[in-house]
Symmetry: C2
Subunit: 591 residues, 2 copies
């Protein structure tokens, strides 16, 4: 037996016991005739002591141990004279009687502490050392707990976890598939699933009623920051449900996880329509940790006009929409700060032409960048629309409606960040409902499904499906947490004739639809129940619960932005006989 206890376990009431511990050397300190060694494992740190007077050989041996050496010791637990209240084992130390070196260690390429001095690239290459650092360990523990809590919660509601295949069929629609050449079937390929969507629908046709799976999914996309080619979903589906049933069930899951992981009770989750989300936040995943809703002064599309005509300010006259936000207590913003904000919205990623401000000073006076065109009364009138108080700052943007909303949304988030309103330890969920069913893509002149092609239109829009696809709302829902989409789902189509109409609108030929999804369409003819579901981005959900922005810190072995695992050096070349067996050769013409 290598150990009688872990390094996080011993307390004052163990004093006097002879114990055996094993772990890593975190650090050693020599203080006069004494040497102190912090021994670390996953569970904690225990202080070991060696006396040069009493056991000179042992003490010398301890002094030679380098950081990250793996050792096993025996010794007696004793109460510390000066206790360390910072750590659970701080009441005791071990008077060591023997040391066994289980393995030596080279000096690690970066420090293995709370904060590391290693750069991203170095830490990725030595991921197995980075994973020793306490923050990453905490993240992995959080993820483990969240997965287990999810499984037990859903199982308690009679959901069954059912594993679906990874070697499936390539049905490119949306993102690119990773494919796997078949050795047994020359020229043919499996594909890795982007999600188990069709399989979970088949399980509903099979009568499994309530399915879930925590499952790896794959997308061969050009990697943006914080995307991974493989990611994990909590994938769920239910039969005989309406949208409200699904929402209630998974609102329960979200609440349960926040309670289990963070110890926080969140109340009922508010709901907003897609249209309102765009109107009040300019985006479909609003961060509602802070308010700062949009106020529309002018929108020709919506017949809103709160700006008196003939003001002579061309920017507004030519604008489809004039929209703003009221930043509470920010009237004192300096010219420099306001210039910074203007620069912020003019960055190419945002692309606005400019920013108008109105300072509503504490003394009830107004100062704005459009004083030339609008008098104090007019500004006061605007302020009323914004429910602004003295001391507030109005930030206003103008242009095309959709673009302006997007730009102002970025500014709103920036102001939230600047004012410290986006707290990592606050958890604000929001359901976004009633998405449009389709988006028209001007480039290839066709409709795309805003969720996916299996999403059902809302019942009342069913009649307009063929004739007015642009007007049709999907029976779909997203769950947003702190401004990130963490889950999305929908009630699905369960009747073949509706699925065929949707495929028609999306420009699939009947042959194409049959080739790719014939099995699902056929299944709909053998008693498919009404069904719907949802999928959570598990990596993202964990990251947000942990207070992190990046999912990479919640994945044990992530890939870099080039889709590469630099630790194992993958992807990599394969042997020539592997090429041959798979009946493929390299096509260098487009490499």
């Amino acid at each position: 037996m290598y150990r009688t206890h872990t390094c996080g376990e011993l307390r004052q009431n163990n004093a006097g016991e002879t114990v055996r511990l094993a772990g890593w050397v975190q650090r050693t300190r020599d203080l006069g005739g004494m040497t102190f060694l912090d021994l670390r494992d996953r569970y904690g740190i225990t202080q070991l002591t060696f006396s040069m007077d009493e056991q000179p050989e042992l003490c010398k041996k301890a002094r030679k141990l380098g950081r990250e050496y793996v050792i096993q010791i025996e010794g007696k637990v004793r109460e510390r004279s000066s206790k360390n209240r910072q750590i659970p084992t701080g009441e005791i130390e071990i008077e060591v009687s023997s040391i066994t070196i289980l393995n030596a260690s080279q000096t690690p390429p970066f420090t293995i502490e709370e904060e590391s001095d290693g750069g991203d690239e170095l830490r990725m290459k030595y991921r197995y050392l980075d994973l020793r650092r306490p923050p990453l360990r905490e993240n992995m523990i959080l993820r483990h707990k969240a997965a287990l809590a999810t499984r037990n919660y859903l199982a308690s509601l009679e959901f069954m976890e059912i594993e679906t295949p990874f070697l499936i069929k390539s049905t490119p629609e949306g993102a690119r598939d990773f494919v796997v050449p078949s050795r047994l079937h020359s020229g043919e390929f499996y594909a890795l699933p982007q999600s188990p969507q069709t399989f979970k629908q088949l399980l509903m046709v099979s009568g499994y009623d309530k399915y879930f799976q925590i499952v790896r999914c794959f997308r061969d996309e050009d990697l943006r920051a914080d995307r991974q080619p493989e990611f994990t979903q909590i994938d769920c589906e239910m039969s005989f449900v309406t949208r409200e049933d699904v929402i209630q069930t998974f609102e329960g899951l979200a609440k349960h996880l926040v309670k289990e992981i963070k110890g926080i009770e969140i109340g009922s989750i508010p709901q907003i329509s897609y249209d309102d989300a765009m109107r009040y936040y300019g985006c479909d995943k609003p961060d509602i940790r802070f308010d700062m809703q949009f106020v529309t002064l002018q929108s020709r599309k919506e017949n809103i006009q709160h700006i008196q005509p003939n003001h002579g300010f061309k920017v507004f006259e030519e604008a489809e929409a004039v929209i703003g936000i009221c930043v509470k207590g920010a009237a004192e913003y300096t010219r420099k700060q306001l210039d910074e904000l203007t620069d912020f919205v003019k960055r190419p990623q945002i692309g606005a032409n400019g920013l108008i401000y109105v300072r509503y000073a504490a003394d009830d006076t107004f100062k704005s960048s459009v004083d030339k065109f609008f008098n104090a009364d007019t500004l006061k009138n605007w302020a009323t629309h914004f429910s602004a108080q003295p001391g507030d700052l109005l930030l206003i943007m103008a242009g095309e409606l959709d673009k302006t909303r997007k730009q102002l949304s970025e500014l709103r988030l920036e102001m939230g960040t600047r004012l410290g309103l986006r707290k990592k330890d606050e958890f604000k969920f929001l359901w976004v409902l009633d998405f449009p069913m389709f988006e028209f893509n001007e480039e290839d002149n066709r409709w795309y499904a805003m969720h996916h092609p299996f999403t059902s239109p809302k019942e009342q829009d069913m009649a307009a499906l063929s004739s007015h696809p642009e007007s049709v709302k999907a029976n779909a829902y997203d769950l947003v947490l702190n401004g990130s989409e963490i889950a999305g789902g929908s009630i699905r189509i369960h009747r073949r004739e509706i699925q065929e109409i949707v495929f028609d609108i999306l420009g699939f030929s009947r042959d194409d639809a049959k080739e790719k999804f014939g099995f699902l369409m056929n299944a709909f003819e053998y008693g498919a129940p009404p069904h719907g579901g949802i999928a959570f981005g598990f990596d993202r959900f964990c990251a947000l619960l942990g207070g992190y922005d990046s999912i990479r810190d919640f994945i044990a072995f992530p890939k870099n932005n080039a889709g590469r695992d630099t630790m194992i050096d993958s992807p990599s070349e394969i042997d020539s006989n592997q090429w041959d067996e798979l009946h493929i050769k390299q096509n260098k013409s487009n490499s």
Copy 2:
């Protein structure tokens, strides 16, 4: 809301309630003026009643419903006059007041009952219908429960579930990898994991101490019956452990699962060495639901000679080994039965030259196929070696030691089956220990690792590693259930120099070893703890717990023996632009 209750929920105490149910039409029966309809969902079957006298329109509607129609009904629960004690809802029926057809169904291509009339191929193509059958549903439920119980059990022992990557590196050694061409890195490939072996070892280096994962693994092998290209493992690893620690931990898991799933307490699991398993059962995964151990009458290698010389029976004289089993109470086997057994061992799959029998009749006389060479005294002497009683039958085989053991092992299993000794509801586990470290392959004249290259030799054999690899035992263990290997593992190498010697013996060049496993060898230099682990074949374990021979019945969407999913028709062709993007083209020269 589609339903107030499921079809498995209503009892006598619900009588009088108005309920709403939804489900599938299992069958309808017209009895005079009444129609009875069995409504089915995952949870059970509820009987609906319609009266032609009272509600003729509704009753007519019910009579038109086909099998597998999906309907929703409302009605009143009432106590049945003739109760069905076979099903939990058999006390009640529903007097229906309205029916809504949620979806129609074509006539299924096979019957959806306990036993189906559909052939394998048809049921694979319509897997979503086959999955409706109660036996498959029970299997999926068992699998779900076993996975959840595993997770909770291991988590309670402080194991953490940590997800490892699916897009890894091809390191062919043993089975073939499935590979995934990289779009971003022309000519390079990811590989799908055959197991997370190296990653779980890295997690031990990272200090995670106790890891597990229920995880999909992939092997591109030529498919034998009951192999799947993708399969699921309960994958586990622990630090600071000896073999005994690992065995104790996972013996606990095995017991827990049998208790949870089958309600059976199994006692302590016996252990046997590999050598003894071969000696007494002729195979490394003995089925110990029945005894029938081998008795060696002659083995030149082992210096065993219980047959008197000069008997003149050439078969024995020329044989390296003569080994037999005693079949209790089978002395009455007829000549025809004995001929069948001889035919059985002579089949090419077994390949024996013949079979010798000795009938030890109830009247204490002997009758054997070698009466010409051996007298009754000699046969009696043999019988003593076998601890045979009057009424028993000895079956004896002769030839090379290893071959004869394998052949006799097949015969032993056959006898166990014939005598009904291999009961599906009996669960006999066995640990097999002390496997040889290496196997020599005559064909390519090299050593192979019997487990895998990361397995540690036993401490006492370490010195002989380079000089006498054939004598070295691995610190490895298999868990066998009812004659199937359900788990295998080992204490791993955790020191670079030992790993290098093993790679040397296996014929890896230093460059090759570095190219493929350099990251692991490097990791060993930064404080790798002693560690070991195990992996359970989860599909097989579930199948055995369920009393099935085939894993296919425990996988929701399995592939056929050609590695094909005939339901979705995969593998399949991909678009030409997918080929182009992946920088590959078809190599028809060896298609």
